[in-house]
Amino acid sequence: MEISINGARILAVFENVPLLGTVRLTQTVAMSWFVMIIISALCIWLGSNLKVTGISRKQAVAEMAVTSLVKFVHNNMGTGFDHYIPLVGTIFITSVISNTISVMGFWSPTADLMTELGWALVVFVLITYHKIKAAGFGAYLKGFLDPLFVLAPINVMAECFTPISMACRHFGNILSGTVISALIYGALTTATHALLGALGSSLVAALIVSAAGVVLAVVMKKKGKTVFFILGIILALLGVFALLHNAGGFLGEIPFLAIGIPAVTGAYFDWFGGCIQAFIFCTLTTLFIKQAAGD
């Protein structure tokens, strides 16, 4: 079987758009709108019916989220950067939702480098703005000549690599999850075909296996041995699947072994990795801006 790992699917192509030339509307754009709709709905829902006393459970969650966001920004940047709270919060929630919708089989907008690069460029502009504001434009330019003027190209590159590294760190982690999930899925599909193909090639063997499984399950259920009971059920199912596989058609194409196992890797790459990357991106955003503004 062939496994192909692609980028975003191109939904539509517009030729000869002014200024941009050929524009390809990709899944990334469509899904980022979908994510925006989810977040906006969430915000409007959580932000409605707020009361000062006698708060609802929903409001408690909303307040906790806002309080921890403010605390996060204050911890990393101090109290002078409160106007960046919406930016940090927005990047965080967008990243988390984008990373985790892949659990439901959607395309993650964050699996496209352009999404992270867009965020990182915004952060880069802010970093540069704060550097110029803190030191003055001349001193900012002069800073590239430190400690020797020959190092200026390297300094410029280092400056440019800040957003690139931020974007690539986030993108790479999400991509690795996607790649590994695809590989595991492919491997399990292949394994299913190999196992069931071998077993199902002989009708008698498949029948014997499933019959043995049923007998084992029934006997062990009576004896109360759970492990063997489960083994019996698995054997029975294996026989049935082999028969189905042998029967061909649509049912034969279902990768039975791929049911369940990818959820385990998904739990790590989509949930844990997704949340951690969002957190890291926001931490770097706050720290870089704070650093640029000086102490």
Binding site: G7, A8, V17, T28, E63, V66, P109, L113, G118
Partner: protein
């Protein structure tokens, strides 16, 4: 046929859309969620602060009232003590005065009584003198059976009383 981008593709349109999306999303998050929740949090903090200040004021007020009350109590106690002391003093003085008056009155009464007794005694003595002299005259008249002249009579009586006085 389905078209795919390559795994890592640079697509300016997507980049621009992403940046625009970020700002739009930021605006929505801020307007519908962050500002509202922060406003509520601020309002609650303000109300709590206000309540604390009010409680502090009430406490200060209560303490002031307590201090005034204690001061009043102290004054009242002092006053009561003073009144008591004064009353005791007055009572002592009055009793002494009364006793003094009583004693003086008693002395006066005693004196008066003594004087009266003395007078009565004198009066009785005189009466007795007169009566005795009368009796003596009568007896003498009877004895002598003759009429003495005034001078003899007087002399005789005085002589008799003198003798009587020596006997008395």
């Amino acid at each position: 046929m389905e078209l795919y981008q390559s795994l890592v593709a640079v697509e300016p349109a997507t980049l621009i859309v992403t940046i625009c999306n970020l700002f739009l999303q930021m605006y929505i998050v801020k307007k519908f969620f962050l500002s509202k929740v922060l406003a509520i949090l601020d309002k609650r903090r303000e109300e709590t602060d206000q309540e604390i200040v009010q409680a502090k004021n009430a406490k200060a007020e209560a303490m002031a009232i307590k201090a005034t009350y204690e001061e009043n109590m102290k004054q009242a106690k002092a006053q009561a003590n003073e009144i008591l002391t004064h009353a005791q003093k007055t009572a002592t003085a009055r009793s002494e005065e009364i006793i003094g008056q009583a004693q003086a009155q008693a002395a006066q009464l005693k004196e008066k009584a003594s004087a009266e007794i003395a007078q009565e005694k004198k009066k009785a003595l005189n009466e007795a003198k007169d009566e005795i002299s009368g009796i003596a005259v009568a007896i003498a008249e009877k004895v002598v059976e003759r009429q003495l002249n005034e001078a003899d009579q007087e002399k005789l009586v005085s002589q008799f009383i003198e003798n009587l006085g020596g006997a008395l």
